[in-house]
């Protein structure tokens, strides 16, 4: 990844695109998409809720890829490994942030739609587990500090996260549930709602990409600052 001006320039372009997409999505959500019949304005949560949820999954998938890259490249190339490491922490943090949005919007919506903040329902359980898994990733990173051993363990965890997510998904799907599946089941018939929905998903995707890129650049900078401090310590200490 470019860490000089190029990376930042890409970041600025992405940020601009994301901002535009967010404005478009907000417009479509609040002024074009119709008010839902039974839930009213509260249904607008849907567009943020689902967008965050999908992007959370994407972020965690990339995190696992970065983890695999880190473990494989570590003995061969310090540079590739530290870039993969930066991508790993960036995707995990952004993913957890998106997860937090899901975990706040979901229950708020649930209180209105189902009359309770939480039920032990498969989809909800799935997202909670995945969310916790990557919180564990962040905890590992936080306590490992810059220790390469701890980073390796965190990378391993993110890799195991993939089959983990698969098994959690299989497990929870086997026991049915109340969480809606309108999109995949071909619901969402109203064109206004459809447009708003896709716009919000794309906007969230752009926001996610921007945040990940910037966070990874920050991490690279931090790595470089550490290297500079070490260089000073090496020549003077």
């Amino acid at each position: 990844m470019a860490t000089g001006n190029l990376g930042i320039r890409i970041g600025i372009v992405l940020a601009a695109l994301a901002a535009a997409a967010v404005l478009v999505a907000l417009y479509l959500v609040f002024f074009v998409a119709p008010l839902e019949a039974t839930m009213g304005i509260v249904q607008k949560i849907f567009y943020f809720h689902v967008g965050s949820a999908i992007n959370m999954t994407v972020a965690f998938g990339v995190c696992a890829l970065a983890g695999a890259t880190y473990l494989v490249s570590r003995p061969m190339s310090a540079r590739v490994a530290s870039i993969a490491d930066a991508v790993g922490i960036a995707t995990a943090e952004v993913g957890v942030m998106l997860g937090a949005i899901v975990m706040v919007t979901g229950p708020l919506w649930a209180k209105v739609a189902w009359g309770t903040y939480w039920t032990w329902e498969p989809r909800l359980t799935l997202s909670l587990m995945v969310f916790l898994l990557f919180i564990a990733y962040l905890a590992l990173r936080a306590y490992a500090g810059t220790d390469r051993f701890g980073r390796g363990v965190a990378a391993g965890l993110s890799i195991l996260g993939l089959p983990g997510i698969y098994f959690i998904r299989v497990a929870v799907e086997r026991w049915g549930g109340a969480h809606p599946q309108v999109v995949y089941k071909g619901g969402l018939t109203h064109p206004g709602m459809r447009q708003a929905f896709f716009a919000s998903v794309i906007a969230m995707l752009l926001v996610t990409a921007t945040l990940v890129l910037l966070r990874a650049l920050i991490e690279r900078r931090r790595q470089q600052v550490d290297a500079l401090f070490l260089e000073i310590d090496r020549t003077t200490g």
């Binding site: 473990l71 570590r74 003995p75 359980t125 587990m129 995945v130 916790l132 898994l133 919180i135 564990a136 905890a139 590992l140 306590y143 490992a144 390469r148 051993f149 701890g150 390796g152 363990v153 990378a155 391993g156 965890l157 890799i159 195991l160 996260g161 089959p163 983990g164 098994f167 959690i168 299989v170 497990a171 929870v172 086997r174 026991w175």
Partner: protein, 224 residues
């Protein structure tokens, strides 16, 4: 051949130490009994519903007790930095991993016997499908041992090992617990509409994929 001798030596060492101190098995067994008793007190309001919450209690107990056993097993390797004597020896990482996972599996199974007996008696449960009951426990215990061993070894020297271990492993193990509870519910004759075969196959798949994944990761993660 040499790897086999090393494997046997590591497992035997842990068994000898355990036979001498009886620490881990006693810890696990007593802890799980206390757990069962506390559960009994906390939920004893309605004994007729034992079949509903019995399977849950079984799996919660197995999960916690195996975590505790795992912690103690690796505390032993941590004292005097002993795990390093394994890692710095010419023994292969895969051998070390399989040996530790095997010990962990043996200890967990040994702990489960008295605990299950206690739960079945205390909560007055009858096992109507013993095959499914035992199968779920064995497959589940293998999963716990694999995931637990990988991360206990990794986190052995982490400052917050005791938090990090459950934090890291429980989300991965939740599907195992879910599947276990389902099969066990059917096995004790609870009126649930579940297909135990399906869940058992699920557990088998989990075991196979995680056996390969953990075995592979162990070497990569531990010898940087």
């Amino acid at each position: 051949m040499q790897a086999w001798r090393q494997f046997v030596a590591i497992v035997r060492k842990d068994l000898v130490v355990e036979f001498r101190t009886r620490e881990i098995l006693l810890t696990m067994a007593l802890f799980s009994m206390l757990l069962v008793i506390v559960f009994a007190f906390a939920f004893l309001s309605d004994p007729t519903r034992a079949r509903d919450y019995g399977p849950g209690i079984i799996w919660v107990t197995v999960l916690f007790a195996s975590t505790i056993g795992q912690n103690r097993l690796f505390d032993r390797e941590r004292e005097n930095g002993c795990l390093w004597s394994l890692l710095l020896s010419p023994t292969g990482a895969g051998t070390i991993f399989l040996a530790k996972a095997t010990t962990q599996f043996l200890f967990t199974v040994l702990m489960e016997l008295p605990t299950l007996l206690l739960i079945l008696v205390f909560f007055d449960l009858a096992v109507v499908r013993p095959g499914a009951f035992v199968g779920a426990l064995l497959l589940g215990t293998i999963a716990l041992s694999l995931v637990g061993t990988l991360f206990s070894a990794m986190l052995m020297n982490a400052r917050m090992k005791e938090v990090l271990l459950p934090l890291v492993t429980y989300p991965l193990l939740v599907p195992v617990v879910i599947a276990g509870v389902k099969v066990t519910s059917v096995a004790v004759g609870a009126p649930v509409a579940e297909d135990p075969e399906l869940w058992l196959r699920f557990l088998l798949g989990f075991d196979m994929i995680f056996a390969v994944a953990t075995w592979f990761l162990f070497g990569r993660m531990i010898r940087a």
